[in-house]
């Protein structure tokens, strides 16, 4: 998401106001202050993988996975129903603050979990097809595949579209509500997949 600042300067006109000028006023699309922290987290992941350090890899995998699962379940099953019960202006206000953070936090957590997880699977031998627990690793790949499709094809584009809609002088409440509905349902699906992940991972670890 490094492209957000450049998008600001590159935007088309809206309602007669030059796009670049208006969006400059609104500031960047994503919380840029978080980027250095994300850089440090991802650099740590690269070092952990390059060094093949079991403790660091386990830390990244467990912490990333726990946060990813918790956030997904919380968004799908707690935030979602609450959001549906709010008035449209309240939803817009919430979404304006919630979406930029999710667009930064979630990809970081997913990268931490999957990057470290793959390396751990190599280390433990579970990745080898002759390993007795290999089937569980393949099952977890299938679950991650479903989550990736939902996240990349539905969730992430909807998040971005909501952010663009909210930057308009008059956001269309119907568009925001429609995209948020998509977000909530998609988060529900990934939440259900997360339950499957919990079953697989606890089975693998026991």
């Amino acid at each position: 998401m490094l492209y957000c600042r450049a998008m600001v300067a590159d935007a088309p006109s809206v309602a007669g106001i030059p796009g670049a000028a208006r969006e400059q006023e609104l500031g960047p699309l994503l919380p840029l202050r978080a980027f250095p922290l994300i850089g440090v987290v991802l650099a740590g992941l690269v070092v952990a993988i390059a060094g093949d350090w079991a403790w660091a890899l386990t830390f990244y995998h467990v912490v990333g996975g726990a946060l990813w699962t918790s956030l997904d379940l919380f968004a799908g099953f707690v935030i979602g129903p609450i959001l549906r019960s709010l008035s449209i202006p309240a939803r817009i206000e919430f979404t304006k603050r919630f979406m930029p953070k999710m667009l930064v936090i979630m990809p970081t957590l997913v990268t931490m979990t999957l990057g470290a997880g793959f390396q751990l699977a190599r280390q433990s031998g579970h990745l080898t097809s002759s390993d007795p627990r290999h089937a569980w690793v393949v099952a977890s790949m299938c679950v991650v595949g479903v989550m990736a499709i939902v996240a990349l094809a539905l969730l992430s584009p909807a998040n971005l579209a909501v952010l663009f809609e909210l930057r308009k002088p008059q956001p269309n409440p119907e568009v925001v509500a429609g995209l948020m509905r998509r977000f909530v349902y998609a988060a529900g699906v990934t939440g259900a997949m997360q339950v499957a992940t919990l079953v697989i991972m606890t089975r693998l670890a026991s």
Binding site: L2, A11, V14, L152, F164, N172, G178
Partner: protein
């Protein structure tokens, strides 16, 4: 704007991504042995066909927020090219060679194009329509 009839770009893009995911999981499931490539090649071809169909359908849309579409597509492609570059490096680092590397690279290319396309389409479909030149 919301009532416009647009081609099923999201659905086709998601189906293309699903084909990529199945193809990659098939290859990964056989590690460290070499998987039979027929299945993965089939899914690669299906994913490419779906992406091509998406491109054709999109090119036939006249009135659309093309400015915003290409803006998001451009920056999305840049971001995902960085991701794809890192993934390709890991393939080479792990000594992936020959036909398997070709299939994996093909899958990576489709992934890299599909995701920004889906983002750009979803954003642009809710933007003010720009009339096509000459309309």
């Amino acid at each position: 704007m919301a009532g416009r009839r647009l081609p099923p770009v999201t659905q086709l893009g998601a189906a293309s991504l699903a084909c990529v995911a199945v193809g990659v999981i098939w290859l990964a499931a056989y590690l460290p042995k070499r998987a039979p490539l027929g299945v993965s090649v089939g899914f690669l071809a299906a994913a490419a066909l779906l992406l091509a169909a998406n491109a054709v359908l999109l090119s036939r849309v006249g009135a659309f927020a093309w400015g915003r579409f290409f803006q998001v597509l451009r920056w999305g492609l840049l971001a995902y090219l960085v991701v794809a570059g890192m993934l390709e490096y890991t393939f080479l680092y792990d000594h992936t060679r020959g036909a398997v590397l070709a299939v994996m690279t093909g899958m990576l290319v489709l992934f890299t194009v599909n995701v920004p396309l889906l983002m750009a389409f979803t954003v642009a479909r809710h933007q003010a329509v720009e009339q096509p030149v000459g309309a």
